[in-house]
């Protein structure tokens, strides 16, 4: 039902809208790389992905006015027989985004980098990641790549979103090779972080693995819109995880499959 604002013709209470988000079911991957990390930065990154349309979430039903697509890249291998320093550089379209270093990594452990910088991309962009080490026996065995969606604007700015329902979250991404082991977040962690300007600062977890959240009203933030995904936005980082036995210990998001609401204008 649509309610008009007096005789102005303006919509005061909009129709029910539902956005369905379809996440990619597969990831680009580089299997069996079998590389030994160099001891100085390589001129050419070992890992390069060109963003494909198949890497990007799609929408059905109500399409957001705008949204950002951010890269999620993973790289894993095995540390040296002695304590190791690993260095990295992330680039997009050959422009440096982030350099960094993790020192004193435990000998003989497996390492995984979760590369989740907020750096919006589109189809055709080239995302690369370089690794090198202080030791000459650190390996790079596997990598995979996908994207995440964040900062969705579901209605014109200024509208109030009423009765907003976020579906129970799904784990995303879900790599399959290398016996992947998700390490974070647990089901109680925030998955879609809302800025305080949304007027609901007491609620920063609106998508979880087990609960469907309903919000009475939601105002879109000028910058973050309805909110931010964790890895790739609010957790804006390149994070290393190490494990004695798991080859691929990765960080992921819980994301909604549907968001429904009505628009209100006052």
């Amino acid at each position: 039902m649509t309610v008009l604002h007096g005789d102005t013709g303006r919509v005061s209470f909009g129709t029910f809208k539902e956005t369905t988000i379809n996440y990619p079911s597969t990831m680009q991957q580089m299997v069996g790389m079998g590389l030994v990390l160099p001891t100085s930065e390589p001129a050419t990154p070992q890992i390069t992905y060109t963003v494909q349309a198949s890497d990007i979430p799609t929408f059905s039903g109500h399409t957001p006015f705008s949204y950002d697509i951010v890269p999620l890249l993973y790289a894993c291998g095995k540390n040296s027989t002695v304590s190791t320093t690993i260095n990295f550089r992330m680039k997009i379209n050959d422009v440096s985004i982030n350099n960094g270093n993790n020192s004193s990594q435990t000998a003989n452990f497996f390492y995984t980098y979760t590369v989740s910088r907020y750096a919006p991309v589109q189809v055709g962009d080239v995302v690369s990641f370089s690794l090198w080490s202080t030791q000459s026996d650190v390996t790079l065995d596997y990598s995979c790549f996908t994207t995440a969606v964040t900062r969705m604007q579901l209605a014109p700015m200024g509208a109030i979103l009423k009765d907003v329902k976020f579906a129970v979250g799904v784990a995303y991404p879900t790599p399959t090779a290398q016996a992947p082991t998700p390490t974070f977040p647990a089901s109680t962690q925030p998955f879609l972080t809302l800025p305080s300007t949304n007027g609901v600062s007491a609620i920063n977890t609106v998508v979880s693995s087990s609960v469907q959240h309903t919000m009475y009203a939601l105002i879109q933030d000028p910058l973050y819109k309805i909110g931010r995904c964790s890895y790739g936005d609010s957790i804006n980082s390149i994070t290393i995880a190490i494990n004695a036995t798991n080859k691929f210990t990765y960080y992921r998001n819980w994301m909604p499959t549907t968001i429904s609401f009505r628009e209100i204008y006052v």
Partner: protein
């Protein structure tokens, strides 16, 4: 403990480190090794910011030659 610095590009170039250039990370490692024992560091080009992670409770080194310190404290 994490120490965040900004306006690093000019300072780093003064000591011969251009973070865009290949090999710059290793050069920064050498310079940091001279003054502290760190866990990791992270340079974000768009922000021109450098975060240096140290063991909690460790003495804060003089990092002024790498940029302007804007935050220093224990990790939450």
């Amino acid at each position: 403990m994490v120490i965040k610095l900004i306006n690093c590009d000019i300072k780093l170039k003064e000591i011969g480190i251009d973070m865009v250039a290949v090999g710059s990370g290793s050069k920064l490692n050498v310079e940091l090794d001279k003054i502290t024992t760190y866990l990791s560091w992270d340079y974000v080009h768009a922000e021109d910011s450098l975060e240096i992670y140290l063991e909690d409770g460790s003495e804060t080194p003089d990092l002024s030659r790498f940029g302007t310190i804007v935050e220093s404290g224990e990790e939450g």
